[in-house]
Subunit: 350 residues, 2 copies
DNA sequence: CCATTTATGCTCAAGATGAGCATAAGGAGC
DNA sequence: GCTCCTTATGCTCATCTTGAGCATAAATGG
């Protein structure tokens, strides 16, 4: 077997958590200040180091499973006990983490998605709940098609496609842009969040490309030319996150949007009882689109996903609404109990 | 940060590949003889060491990404260049791998799913293509409900549920069995493959439980009592695989069944052109159910997933069939182009 | 009392789906 | 050539599902 060395190079398993809550119709993300020091990488960032996802290393001797390791350090760092946790993806690209810059070790990160209910400010210092659409603003279509798409992103993607080396790679780029962003008669697919972020990154619309290049330089890696940003820093769409954390966030959002369609995970984000509008608003917050009220109600009520409690919520701003709860029995009745299929389509009127 | 030690314990990243092909309506899996030696673990196996999934370690210095590492050693070991590759899941439970038994290192395995077309016998020694339903026979409903389910598995699951410590944990077990295996009016959900395997493992229906326990003993781990098999070895459902590879296979099958519904991955397994029946048989092989011919045809033709070539296939055994090809344009036309939604439902008549 | 807001129930057309039937066009056996 | 068998292909039809909108109910704030 080639490539193996007598002295094994060291590997560290990192565990990243995308901890999500929905409050006041806003999908929020628990962020921290980046803990691993990365001198020089963010030195010219006007706002200081960008927000990072919570991170902790696996204890290879102490943690019996990866998920238990994640739960352990989230508990240690925030005092919070996680409920619903699901593995997202494992990121192993070299030089993702500044720790690698020192030649210490290869860092492979296993990212998890956690859904929590309450939005307590959290015990950790520097921890903050932030609207996740501030990092991926083009994903929020609840107020209509984001102006960013036509004003900033579209033209930059066109320039990127036009800048391809030859004709065939140009048409490949064009097709990729069309499919990923639903252009030219195509449809916007809410789940292609990661593909869109990666395209935006490649097209020079993400500052992270600069930082990544700086890290590679600091480590003396082979370079394929410094990336050029397509726009001045202040005009780039969305706020950046530390390291490759925006990519992880995009993975989480795409996965979650898919999952609410066929598994009742949305209830992990809601209180025990809720009105149907609260439920709808939570789904809309994740899906990033507005839904038809009557049809949504029919979907969840006739679909057996919820049942009324008989109690009323009076602080609705209008007629009082019945409080509903999740109906567990649906798990054995229906094949893929979730909201959607294909119900998750944008709506014109409410 | 608690739990960290001055001298970092070693970690090895393993890369596992579930390499799948469909030939002659049989979904096949590339297996090898287990390479890591595990003395004592399979000593009383009548048939010798069980088949294993191909495995290779990540080269932390040489491999720029995990997927490139996977592609590298598959190329090195089998001479085969992989096409479609998708990350499946990362398995990090302690003592999964016999290498850990020696106290050498913690092994964390990133499993990948690869879809290939041809079924060449492969260059590696000991490599074999095996029908994957031999490992998970209860997942194949193409010839009707597997007799195994009522004859062997069902009663054993009932005994397992009845053996719970108290009433509430018993009813929890019962509910889990009902949902996972679609009992008591519930529906069989083809995608819950992993959940079913895990239940079968817990209920003492998988030999792997014995091996795992043996490994823990050899390492001097805390034991929670030797697992008792629910049946004599020869009566256990399905053939075992080495280590936790049957679990990885179950993960792959479940993921693939889900994916064919909304992404056109099925075409990765077919030749450039194919008849509609070949396409249907391939889908059935993965989904494990028979489909309605007319409706399937309507789904893929009207759904714009395929287009006729005008050429005919004559060796059909009946009237010649038109050869079709995948229609790439569907990627930009449709939201989730795949076979199903909800089309993938078993059928009574053909 | 009225405008506004949210809740809830209902209708209706269009489209998708499940199931089956009928006919077409090959080959094999005689 | 004829019959039977096999697979291909086209079509129907009842039933559900979905998208969109309307009407009424019940709260609040002026």
């Amino acid at each position: 077997m080639s490539g193996r060395r007598a002295r094994e190079p060291e590997v560290i398993i990192g565990l990243n958590a995308v901890i999500v809550a929905v409050t006041e119709e806003v999908p929020r993300l628990l962020t921290v200040e980046p803990t691993l020091d990365a001198p020089g990488v963010w030195e010219d960032e006007p706002a200081g180091p960008p927000p990072a996802l919570p991170f902790g290393p696996l204890d290879p001797e102490g943690d019996a499973t990866l998920q238990l390791g994640l739960r352990r350090w989230v508990r240690e760092q925030t005092g919070r006990e996680l409920g619903y946790v699901e593995q997202l993806y494992t990121f192993g690209t070299r030089n993702r983490e500044p720790a690698e810059r020192l030649g210490e070790a290869r860092v492979v990160s296993v990212a998890y998605l956690a859904l929590v209910r309450e939005e307590s400010p959290s015990g950790a210092s520097g921890a903050r709940w932030l609207d996740w659409y501030r990092f991926l603003p083009w994903e929020d279509w609840r107020e209509g098609r984001p102006a960013l798409l036509d004003g900033v992103i579209g033209p930059a993607l066109d320039r990127w496609a036009a800048g391809a080396a030859d004709v065939s790679s140009r048409s490949a780029r064009e097709e990729r842009v069309d499919i990923t962003f639903g252009r030219r008669g195509g449809l916007w697919d809410g789940e292609r969040v990661l593909e869109r972020y990666e395209l935006i990154y490649e097209a020079g619309l993400a500052v992270e490309a600069l930082w990544d290049h700086r890290l590679r330089r600091l480590r003396g890696e082979p370079e394929d030319g410094a990336p050029r940003l397509a726009l001045p820093r202040s005009a780039l769409p969305g706020q950046p996150m530390a390291f490759d954390h925006r990519r992880i966030l995009a993975t989480a959002l795409g996965r979650l949007r898919g999952k609410i369609r066929y598994r009742p995970v949305i209830f992990e984000l809601l209180p025990e009882t809720f009105t149907l509008l609260q439920l709808q608003r939570a789904v809309e917050a994740l899906a990033g689109v507005r839904l038809h009220k009557g049809n949504f109600r029919r979907l969840v009520e006739h679909g057996g996903l919820v049942e009324g409690t008989g109690r009323l919520e009076v602080r609705t701003g209008g007629r009082p609404a019945e409080l509903f709860r999740f109906r567990r029995e649906v798990l054995r009745e229906r094949q893929a109990p979730g909201v959607g299929l294909p119900g998750l389509r944008p709506v014109t009127a409410s």
